[in-house]
């Protein structure tokens, strides 16, 4: 019975996150990208689709594009490998969506009483504050279980999972290019694989510094670590402890997403449309959709790793704490007695007290806002910078980003060694 | 042996050599219209005026025509001095006074000396404000040549050609001054067998070829060194083509064979390259790809030869084919096919003359003969007709669709061919034999392959590939190599160089044996 409930919850999470969030944002991106670039260039962008004279500022283009993609002729060139040609776009979208499994949209739900300890919420084994008050002061406080309702898969090796899946992501592109029986597609596919393999290296190394600082591969744990207050005031977000790594990671992951200025695999001025030259209809749509989903994912993972993920600055389980002093101190023996907790709850109330449910709600909202801002940053970059030359891309990947991330790793290690 | 200095470079030449020839030897091109190395020198166009420096202390000399002035001892010549350039400008301006400048219409545009020299030496706007003299336009001088009086610069090259080379003297200059025109004598036509040479000679567009007129602009042509296959003279030609279609033949200077000339009939033989071509290999009327055609042809040949014996198998060599093809054909016929009866085909004899045209209308008969030892030369075609009618031949492999028979014999031959058990025809053209063939293999013409041809005087020449093969045509020797391999008696070569090395050795041996 519990297994069935677990399964139902997992399914619900997948449905809500993948279809309610990822797919919605991904398809909205098709319009957003065009609108965003249009506004940057003093144009109106798509505004002409209309129903009964109403245009809704171009929102109907979403529907129009979808209908068009589905109704168009699905063309497979002669000499193409039909099976691989068909599977390739699906592989691209599959990896782009599966990767969302590790993104935590909020901290795991606490079934007991959540209290902040030095910037990290801990879930104590009391039903609520009243239950705590009535407990024996001398009793050692226990911990209540938490449920990862806001993350599809709470993996303790989440980042490794991410690298594994992005590694597979290149197959969709490379196979699509190879199976099309077109030289442009093949060149595009080759470029894509070379580029993605090159940048995967520096992408991984740029995050290694972060792993050393937080000491975990669990993505949710890394977000929780970012709630700690530095010098008692500033939340210890990834961007503060690893500013250099953020730029390296952002560059490498934009290169991974194959978008300008790294869109050599599709370089329309040289390769027509690169690896998806020979694709049409919904297969073409799926390729571009997976590209947009990748953009959303890069926004999400950047927000998660470097901008505190679901953390709202200074907001903890019981409300806002603008300084670390108002929080519970670390226990001397690794455990707290109920009395210590009772005195904390009575004495040091948070600066602004908020109920736990509202806190979770705010955190989800904050995370979504961060994602949208990161997407806007990527769009801004994509529509500002011109495309690199291919040799420049390889130069940047191997001769600049790779040494830079190694240096970053070295300095981080040195700093950790000296500070501890 | 007088010595002279031209533009500061000393040269020693034979007595009687003119300045224009001496300058050409040093690499100075003196512009000229009327001068032609094969014709007499009238020095009437004045384009080749050059400056000869006077002896010390004497006033400057009048400019002299380089084509007429013979080199004298100690002569100092300037071909590009300021005075010379000024004179050239003046001559060009004079010539252009009545020239219509209708280059867009004119066929000569692109290979016109007047155009070239105008761009090189004149290049100034016209100062003439009077109207131009109008003369005859589109006047046919003969069946091949059309005359435009307005474009004519009266260099008289065409007149001298007819006087000196053909000796027919059809042309003359009529009227005087700016009304002068080239005309045929009353009651005459420019209808000699070499009349189109006047079109080549004409430095401007005054004489145009009826055949080539308006067909293609000359700057679009690609020129390939080739030979004319109209008769056994084998004149050297520029084979000029555009979009894989031959547009014209033009004689290529070859002092040993045809000098600057070529006959009108030969110029028209390019039509043969495009006429009635076999488009694809066909076995039993069924068009096939080459690999399948090889297999099926070889199978049919094998079965037929086994059924009737090598003695009932005949092979017809064509003197139209190149030496490479004939050599491979001999190897194939004697080895792979095992045919014991060999014959010679080709075109029937025609009329000849005492200049270039020969009666034998096949370009490579000497090449064919020298391919065989004297005692094993193939039999004449009449023998084939007799043997066919006697019923001794059941399998016939024939190169080329030409039949060297006329009239009643030709009809008899066609009737006899229809009775053989297996008739393989490997030819560029269908003609009457195409429909009769059980196996039809397209062959490349001289325009589509590299080949060696030996002319009537025993001079071997090589053609270059100009066109992409039309239809599925292949050089015959390649087909023989493939068929021999399918018949499991492969020839010893598969590249043209191997074949040629072997072939020239055999040809040398045979010709040495024939000479002794």
């Amino acid at each position: 019975m519990t297994l069935l409930i677990e399964f139902a919850i997992a399914l619900l999470k997948v449905l809500v996150i993948v279809f309610g969030f990822v797919m919605a944002l991904g398809s909205l991106m098709t319009l957003t990208e065009r609108k965003y670039s249009a506004f940057m260039q003093k144009r109106w962008g798509p505004i002409r689709a209309e129903v009964l004279g109403f245009r809704f500022g171009g929102l109907l283009h979403l529907v129009a594009d979808g209908v068009k993609m589905i109704l168009k002729e699905d063309f497979i060139p002669s000499g193409a490998n039909r099976n691989i040609h068909t599977i390739a776009p699906a592989m691209g979208l599959f990896t782009a969506m599966v990767i969302f499994a590790i993104i935590p949209f909020a901290d795991a739900w606490c079934t007991g009483l959540a209290l902040p300890v030095e910037g990290m919420d801990l879930c104590f084994g009391f039903d609520d504050a009243e239950a705590l008050q009535s407990a024996q002061p001398a009793a050692v406080a226990t911990f209540a279980p938490t449920h990862p309702y806001f993350q599809i898969a709470d993996l303790n090796a989440g980042l490794l999972y991410m690298f594994a899946i992005t590694g597979i992501g290149v197959y969709g592109t490379a196979l699509g290019g190879w199976a099309s029986n077109s030289k442009y597609s093949l060149l595009g596919g080759l470029r894509a694989s070379a580029q993605m393999i090159s940048y995967e290296v520096s992408m991984g190394l740029s995050l290694a510094g972060l792993l050393m600082v937080y000491g975990t591969l669990d993505v949710n744990e890394m977000v929780r670590e970012q709630g700690a207050l530095l010098w008692g005031t500033v939340p210890m977000w990834g961007i503060l402890v690893q500013p250099f790594a953020f730029f390296l990671f952002l560059t490498a992951s934009i290169a991974e997403s194959k978008r300008a200025p790294f869109d050599m695999p599709e370089a329309e001025s040289e390769l027509v449309a690169g690896y998806f030259t020979e694709y049409s209809a919904m297969k073409f749509g799926i390729f571009s959709l997976s590209e947009f989903v990748m953009v959303v994912f890069i926004g999400a993972i950047c927000a998660t790793l470097f901008f505190g993920g679901w953390q709202v600055p200074w907001l903890y389980a019981d409300g806002f704490h603008f300084s670390g002093d108002s929080m519970l101190a670390a226990a001397s023996g690794g455990a707290w007695t109920a009395g210590e907790l009772q005195s904390y709850v009575q004495a040091s109330t948070p600066d602004i007290a908020l109920p736990y449910g509202l806190v979770v709600f705010l955190r989800i909202g904050c995370f979504l806002t961060k994602i949208i801002l990161m997407i806007a940053l990527q769009l801004q970059i994509r529509w500002t910078l011109p495309r690199f030359r291919y040799d420049q891309i390889m130069f940047l990947g191997w001769k600049i980003l790779l040494p830079a991330s190694l240096i970053n790793l070295f300095i981080t290690a040195l700093a950790i060694l000296l500070l501890r | 042996m007088p010595k002279c200095t031209i533009n500061g470079q000393a040269i020693e030449v034979d007595r009687g050599v003119t300045v224009i020839q001496a300058a050409a030897e040093l690499g100075f091109d003196v512009p000229h219209f009327c001068y032609h190395p094969a014709l007499s020198v009238p020095a009437n166009c004045r384009m080749c005026l050059i400056e000869i420096e006077p002896p010390p202390g004497r006033p400057p000399m009048k400019l002299q025509p380089a084509c007429y002035t013979q080199v004298a001892e100690g002569m100092v010549v300037q071909t590009e001095s300021e005075r010379v350039l000024q004179a050239r400008r003046a001559v060009l301006e004079f010539i252009l006074v009545n020239h219509p400048v209708d280059c867009p219409i004119c066929d000569q545009a692109g290979e016109c000396k007047l155009q070239d020299y105008y761009m090189d030496y004149d290049a100034q706007a016209s100062r003439v404000r009077t109207s131009k003299v109008s003369k005859a336009k589109v006047l046919p001088l003969g069946p091949e040549v059309v005359y435009d009086g307005e474009r004519c610069i009266l260099c008289t090259r065409c007149v001298r050609f007819c006087d000196e080379v053909t000796g027919t003297s059809e042309l003359t200059v009529t009227e005087r001054g700016d009304r002068s025109e080239i005309r045929t004598f009353a009651g005459r036509e420019l209808d000699n067998a070499y009349s189109l040479c006047t079109v080549d000679l004409c430095p401007v567009g005054a004489l145009t070829s009826r055949d080539f007129r308006f067909k293609c602009r000359v700057w679009l042509l690609t020129s390939t060194d080739s030979i004319c296959t109209g008769c056994s003279r084998g004149c050297s030609i520029h084979l000029e083509h555009h979009r894989n279609e031959i547009q014209r033949y033009r004689p290529r200077f070859n002092p040993e064979i045809n000098e600057y000339w070529m006959c009108d009939a030969g110029r028209h033989t390019y039509n043969e390259v495009h006429r009635d071509r076999v488009q694809a290999p066909a076995v039993g009327g069924q068009a096939l790809t080459w690999p399948r055609a090889y297999e099926q042809t070889a199978a049919r040949l094998k079965a037929a030869v086994e059924a009737h014996g090598a003695d009932a198998t005949a092979f017809v060599f064509s003197p139209q084919a190149a030496c490479e093809d004939l050599y491979a054909a001999r190897g194939f016929a004697e080895g792979a096919l095992g045919a014991t009866r060999h014959y010679v085909g080709g075109r029937p004899e025609g009329a000849g003359d005492d200049f270039l045209i020969t009666p034998d209308k096949n370009p490579n008969r000497n090449g064919l003969l020298v391919m065989f030892p004297r005692d094993r030369r193939p039999a004449p075609f009449q023998r084939l007709l007799a043997d066919l009618e006697a019923g001794e031949i059941k399998v016939l492999y024939m190169m080329g669709s030409e039949i060297p028979l006329d009239g009643e014999e030709r009809a008899r031959f066609l009737a006899a061919v229809a009775k053989v058990d297996l008739f393989v025809l490997q030819a560029p053209r269908q003609d009457e034999l195409g429909p009769l063939a059980h196996v039809l293999l397209p062959a490349a013409t001289h325009a589509e392959k590299e080949g060696t041809y030996v002319n009537c005087d025993g001079i071997a020449q090589q053609t270059r590939q100009g066109l992409q093969p039309i239809g599925g045509a292949l050089p015959e020797w390649q087909v023989f190599v493939q068929l021999a391999r399918r018949l499991e008696k492969p020839l010893a070569y598969s590249f043209v160089k191997q074949l040629r090395d072997e072939m020239f050795k055999v040809m040398e041996e045979n010709s040495a044996a024939a000479a002794s």
């Binding site: 940057m40 260039q41 002409r48 801004q380 529509w383 500002t384 | 336009k137 589109v138 700057w219």
Partner: protein, 175 residues
């Protein structure tokens, strides 16, 4: 006249320019500024032209469909010199010349076909024409084709767009 050569000094680029980073930030700032000003309606001018309702004013030298000019008597001016088809970088002009009955005209295009789908609208044919026979000043948009063969505009179609040109060969144009 010999060509004058001017040696251009290649500007020195500073380390920060070469490092690309500040310039990226500058670029992002510029585009962001435009975005914000456009969204907040501080920038009034819009580049978008709502095509079927609004139309762009074509410049005077706009190159439209080709047209073949005609002589006084309505015959085609073209003398089939092939200059246009020779210069055409897209190889889209196909001409077959023929002998004209009138000896003063002498040569005319029996077939003159332009493949408008192949045409890259470079205007070199007009530049090359020595007879003012082909022009691209018709002002007519190349319409859309559903079949390749309908894009082959032949001589008579092209002449329908054409008008009389009294230009003298080698002389000035008179319009």
């Amino acid at each position: 006249m010999p060509a004058k050569t001017l040696v251009m000094e290649r500007g020195k680029r500073s380390f920060w320019v070469q490092s690309y980073l500040p310039e990226v930030a500058n670029g992002l700032a510029v585009t962001l500024k435009h975005l914000v000003r456009f969204i907040t309606r501080q920038e009034e001018s819009v580049f978008t032209i709502n095509y079927p309702e609004e139309k762009r004013q074509y410049p005077e030298r706009y190159r439209g469909l080709h047209r073949l000019m005609v002589r006084e008597d309505g015959q085609v001016r073209c003398v089939a010199c092939m200059c246009c088809s020779t210069i055409c970088p897209a190889n889209c002009i196909h001409i077959v010349a023929a002998e004209h009955d009138d000896a003063s005209i002498e040569k005319y295009p029996r077939i003159f076909v332009i493949d408008e789908l192949r045409c890259i609208v470079c205007g070199l044919c007009v530049e090359a024409c020595p007879c003012d026979a082909i022009r691209m000043d018709s002002g007519v948009h190349c319409h859309s084709f559903t079949d390749r063969t309908t894009a082959f505009l032949n001589r008579d179609l092209l002449m329908n767009l054409g008008t009389y040109s009294a230009a003298k060969q080698g002389g000035e144009r008179s319009f």
